[in-house]
């Protein structure tokens, strides 16, 4: 698993692929192969070999790039970019920038096509069927109790609901973490959606962290003991999690 995770970081973060000692890992795989009995072990070896082949491909690309005319030391370039001011940098850029020249023109044939189209186009009211008003014509009304029953408004304030969810999360996860689905799952789908909605705010407002396991495709919530302000100040990353009714039904079943 450690080798796979190393290969993953090389392929996704652009780390030097020669950080992975392919030969040594292959030797190790060959050495332990006769000892494996469980299919899971063979499967893990196969996955490792798959990732190693990607690393070898990256190594080939790396060598090709280093031998190309575009190769320069990336760290030297980064240092220079950090040291130069905006005006010097834009001055350098304009020396190697050759903007594309492009023109837009309406030709007579296109104008004729447009006129023909306009003349043939029936009026809007002829193309759109009339919508008959059904039911009450004016806006309806609902009491606060009805809205609460429908889940349109929460009991108490939003902050209170959020803090209540936070307390539940702390109780459930303790100092560790808990699976996102284990936390938000409730007896009804509507309640599950409500809890997922609040869980998203727990993360956004710094009450909890969201950890992902890309291999398993699993999400985990890790509660913080104190609300962290940095959660909104740092680089925000949106993580879409689908609260699918089918997933909820499968868990229920």
């Amino acid at each position: 698993m450690r080798v796979i995770s190393l290969c993953l970081s090389v392929s996704r973060k652009g780390v030097d692929p020669f950080e992975v000692e392919v030969k040594r890992i292959l030797d190790a795989i060959g050495k332990y192969l006769p000892e494996w009995e469980l299919p899971e072990d063979f499967s893990l070896d196969a996955e490792t070999l798959n990732w190693l082949s990607s690393v070898v491909e990256l190594q080939a690309g790396w060598i090709k790039h280093m031998s190309s005319s575009l190769y320069v030391d990336p760290f030297l370039i980064e240092l220079k970019l950090k040291a130069l001011d905006a005006e010097s940098l834009s001055g350098i850029f304009t020396r190697c920038w050759r903007p594309i020249v492009e023109l837009e023109q309406l030709v007579p044939r296109r104008v004729k096509e447009a006129v023909d189209y306009w003349n043939l186009l029936p009026p809007l009211e002829g193309r759109w069927p009339e919508f008959e008003a059904r039911g009450p014509s004016g806006p309806g009304s609902a009491t606060e109790e009805e809205l609460r029953r429908q889940g349109m408004i929460l009991d108490g304030s939003f902050e209170e609901a959020l803090e209540e969810e936070w307390r539940k999360l702390v109780k459930m996860a303790g100092d560790g973490r808990v699976s996102f689905w284990d936390f938000v799952y409730a007896d009804s789908y509507e309640e599950t959606v409500r809890r997922a909605y609040l869980a998203s705010f727990l993360v956004t407002y710094g009450y909890a962290g969201l950890e992902t396991d890309p291999l398993e495709g699993e999400y985990y919530l890790k509660p913080f003991r104190e609300k962290r302000k940095a959660a909104l100040g740092g680089q925000a990353v949106s993580v879409p999690i689908s609260v699918d009714r089918d997933v909820w039904v499968r868990r229920k079943g």
Binding site: S68, P74, I77, K80, S90, F93, Q105
Partner: protein, 185 residues
């Protein structure tokens, strides 16, 4: 005017119309489109057009697919390449209509950073570099704008690449050489 040179003059006119007037969503014409319209010797027409454009400070730029410029391209590479008309010489800072100087600097930094890393870099790394000089909100907006205009391309896993317009308009080797020259001063 001989019949042959007259035919070429007609082809040059057709080529300039194809190259200058936007025909698709993106500017530029594929090599195979030029070949279909101008014939097998379309590169001769492009060369002739280049001599005419020279007087106007313009030239035809050829961007090959997955290949560095230079050397003799094969016929297949020429057909897959995209042809644009670009400024021949360096543009001036005054000509940056619609661009703020710091935006141009941001674009230069992003392209140079990506080009020095085998043509791809994680968006968060590029953001990290730009945040050294610019506020975070402006970095996000600028990167989105570069992607929208085709200077950068955003792929899976949050990786940034030099986009189609970046490859057509920016001499990446010259940019790196100039920066390196500055670095060695």
């Amino acid at each position: 005017m001989s019949e042959k040179s007259g035919a070429y003059a007609g082809k040059v006119k057709r080529a300039v119309q194809m190259l200058l007037f936007q025909r698709h969503r993106r500017p530029g014409v594929k090599g195979w489109e030029l070949k279909r319209s101008l014939g097998r010797d379309f590169m001769k027409v492009v060369d002739l057009l280049n001599t005419r454009l020279d007087d106007l400070g313009l030239r035809v730029s050829v961007v090959y697919e997955g290949r560095e410029p230079g050397g003799r391209p094969s016929e297949e590479e020429l057909e897959r390449a995209v042809f644009y008309v670009v400024l021949r010489g360096a543009s001036s800072v005054e000509s940056l209509s619609g661009w703020r100087v710091d935006e141009v600097a941001g674009l230069a930094a992003a392209v140079a950073f990506i080009a020095s890393r085998q043509g791809k870099a994680a968006r968060r790394d590029v953001e990290g570099l730009l945040r050294v000089k610019f506020p975070g909100w402006r970095v996000d907006l600028a990167l989105d704008r570069f992607v929208r205009r085709g200077y950068l391309d955003e792929g899976e896993g949050g990786m940034l690449y030099v986009g189609w317009r970046g490859r057509a308009e920016i001499d990446q080797k010259m940019l790196l050489d100039l920066l390196l020259g500055e670095a060695l001063k």
